[in-house]
């Protein structure tokens, strides 16, 4: 029951609330819901428990949908999938103690991949905090290193301003996860609700507008280059600058290489797109990195899987690095021209400073180094499904327009290498943290966020068994998700490393699993098993024609490897190739 209090209009207007001139006396739980509504939240992913019972008491009256997951960790990753598919912050909630600790992996994942996310956790009642109460953990202490910021709310009046600030921090500057821990007592206490319109945080002023001097230095470096490359990262999509980026690339004529998370920020089918760089990148891309005389990094952070051994990284290149986070400049790689700013704003400032050019000799040099052997080999299909073929058939069937989520490992790299991403925000993968189990919950979040798009979760049989409990959530929400399990009966990437770098000492990588068709049946959904190459296409078409979740079991060659690969600690140019794909030069 809420009491409404009329306030003098002067006060009301200064309160700036979008809810008119009334300020209502609401419970902390209601205030939490109203605050989320004020942020435009339409879906939260969560799981109830003791400390949040009062919050869940208010949920049925809230103006957003709550999706009940089967494990809090997947609530966090569903929120992340939602955020990546929509560009809006993902929201998850959990109870105190184990509920909150289960969110940690998802927060860390969002932190490393700069995904905007707000997590609401319940905390034990205030008088018990610090007394090792039932289901008490110091979640703000635990999540300190894996959140952009976090809060333990102390007064019911602080709930709304804290949530306002949390959303602001999560979505501005370099996005990231923010956790708000609210003691149960505060959900019950009442306060006058008004949602603040501004955030005053003097210690937080992200630089989005670049320094023009640095922009001109960047332009001068570009003008002088003969063999330039653009390294395109996730930041381009986070700043919604794919259009500016395309204009910039087409104007300058500079070929583009992608980080794992940068895939999709520029069409891979574009003549100036070269493909993915790094550990499992394309040979011609890593060769181009080795030879380029200018590397313009836009919105990527020089992750070690992208750079290989930093001492051998782009040795001839002058490095221009555009990043909204000043701490990334010079952190891993020496930078010659640092530009702090939002990718879109930097590109807008940079565009008038550059000239239209083409680098025919340079692009010819790169094209000549494409691994033709691999392309040729892909035309010869063995009897058992080749992972590349599965990925390419999914891409073809969905016209390259599907959202694709993955876990981490071999299937992730096969997908990254061969899907051919032409659209932004369709490639949702756990890049920085490499979280197994990511694929299914992130697909759930993505489908709920973008019901208009076809969604595929491409998952390994190991990772699938980590989060397969979320099949129940897919069924509960009747989500039209196609789950493609790339099943080799191994923890494939670890097995591959044991194969290549540990004398085939296959230690604890053989992993069995349930009969997936029967598992599908148990959940009341369709299961499809594919054992032969010729079955791939019809199976994909059948899955696409079925409304609701479909579980596909692609049984592949158990010891298929991801090629090429840069051995750990080596430079990007020291790639290993499978013999049949090895360059003939």
């Amino acid at each position: 029951m809420s009491v409404t209090e009329k306030l003098p209009s002067a006060t009301a207007s200064s309160a700036g609330a979008s809810h008119g001139v009334e300020r209502q006396l609401l419970s902390g739980a209601e205030i939490t819901c109203r605050s989320l509504e004020a942020e435009g939240v339409t879906t939260v992913f969560g799981y109830p428990g003791g400390a949040v019972i009062p919050l869940y008491d208010a949920l049925p009256r809230a103006g957003f949908k709550h999706v009940l997951v089967r494990f809090e960790q997947w609530a966090a990753l569903a929120a992340e999938g939602y955020a990546r598919a929509t560009g809006k912050p993902g929201v998850c909630m959990a109870t105190s103690g184990p509920g909150a600790t289960n969110l940690v992996t998802g927060l860390a994942d969002a932190m490393l991949d700069s995904v905007p996310m707000v997590a609401i956790t319940g905390q034990v009642v205030q008088p018990l905090i610090g007394r090792d109460a039932f289901q008490e953990v110091d979640i703000t202490g635990i999540t300190l290193p894996v959140t952009k910021h976090n809060y333990l709310v102390q007064r019911v009046e602080d709930i709304a301003p804290t949530i306002k600030e949390a959303f602001y921090l999560a979505t501005s500057g370099r996005p990231g996860p923010v956790l708000v821990d609210i003691p149960k007592t505060l959900f019950i206490q009442k306060a006058l609700y008004s949602y603040p319109s501004t955030v005053g945080r003097r210690g937080y002023q992200p630089t989005s507008t670049p320094n023009m001097r640095q922009v001109r230095l960047a332009a001068e470096s570009i003008a002088r280059a003969e063999r330039p490359l653009i390294m395109a990262g996730h930041g381009i999509m986070l700043s919604e600058a794919t259009e500016e980026f395309r204009q910039f690339v087409e104007m300058t004529g500079i070929p583009v290489i992608f980080t794992l998370l940068g895939l999709g920020c520029f069409p891979e089918s574009h003549p100036l797109a070269l493909g993915m760089m790094g550990m499992h990148g394309h040979k011609h891309v890593n060769d181009a990195l080795d030879e380029c005389d200018l590397l313009l990094n836009v919105g990527a952070r020089f992750d070690d899987r992208a750079t290989g051994n930093v001492n051998g990284f782009a040795p001839k290149a002058k490095i221009v690095h555009v990043d909204i986070d000043p701490a990334e400049l010079g952190k891993n790689i020496r930078t010659d021209v640092p530009v702090v700013g939002d990718a879109g704003e930097v590109l807008r400032q940079l565009l008038p400073e550059v000239e239209q050019r083409r680098y025919q000799a340079w692009t010819d040099w790169i094209e000549a180094r494409r691994n033709i052997a691999l392309e040729v080999a892909l035309e010869h299909q063995p009897e058992s499904p080749e992972p590349y073929t599965i990925v390419r058939e999914i891409a073809a069937a969905s016209n390259g327009e599907a959202i694709v989520t993955t876990d981490v490992g071999q299937h992730q790299m096969w997908t990254a290498q061969y899907f051919g991403f032409d659209h932004p925000d369709r490639w949702i993968t756990s890049g920085g943290l490499g979280t197994m189990g990511f694929g299914l919950p992130s697909a759930i979040g993505a489908k709920i966020g973008r019901p208009d798009l076809e969604v595929w979760a491409v998952i390994g049989d190991g990772g699938f068994q980590m989060s397969m409990n979320e099949l129940a959530t897919c069924v509960q929400e009747n989500l039209d998700i196609n789950i493609a399990v790339i099943n080799n009966g191994y923890l494939g990437m670890v097995r591959q490393w044991q194969d290549l770098f540990h004398e085939k000492n296959y230690s604890e990588v053989r992993i069995g699993g349930p009969n997936l068709e029967k598992l599908a049946e148990a959940y009341g959904i369709t299961g499809i098993t594919v054992r032969r190459t010729v079955e791939i296409r019809p199976a994909i078409e059948r899955a696409r024609s079925i409304r609701g979740p479909v579980l596909m079991d692609f049984v592949i060659e158990p010891e298929a490897n991801v090629w090429p690969i840069v051995p750990p600690g080596a430079s990007n140019t020291e790639m290993m190739h499978e013999r049949r794909f090895a360059d003939t030069e």
Binding site: T140, R201, R202, G203, T207, N211, Q214, A327, L329, K331
Partner: protein, 186 residues
Amino acid sequence: MKKRHTLVVLVEDHPGVLNRVVSLMRRRSFNIDSITVGHSEQPGVSRMTLVVVGRDDEVEQVGKQLYKLMEVLKVQDLTEANAVSHELAMVKVAAKAQHRAEILQVAQIFDAKVVDATPSSLLIEAVGSEDRIDNLLTMLKGFGIRELVRTGAVAMARGAQATAIKDGRAERETVIVANGSAGMAT
């Protein structure tokens, strides 16, 4: 080349700020030589003095990472040359009657004060640079140091200019990049 840097860090006086700073230093493998925290001239703003040892680019990274904490308002690297950096030490020295005069003489040389005395000990308080305190302790060692506490350095730049926050706003005034190339982006 690794060297000692003294960082002044102005932070919002919120619960948990010290924890955030120390946790950041630990997880990024930055070594803290000493850390002191106290009030500043501005209400609501605490002043930390962090002494860290590292290469210039490492220390620059410390500063940039500190700026990512919401409570951090300003970070300034004070070089030894133009800053005063002092710590306070209290030393309880065994002081038998026959050594007392000699100990007092040592204290006098170092401008140290005797703040407590018993028939068998003297409690000496000294303020000065780290080197100076080290020297005092070397001199006192022979008499027997029973207890010692050092605060770690507090530092302030010389000259009229103050390390402060203008208009109550944080200043991210510099984006200097490692390896000496390129310059400031204001």
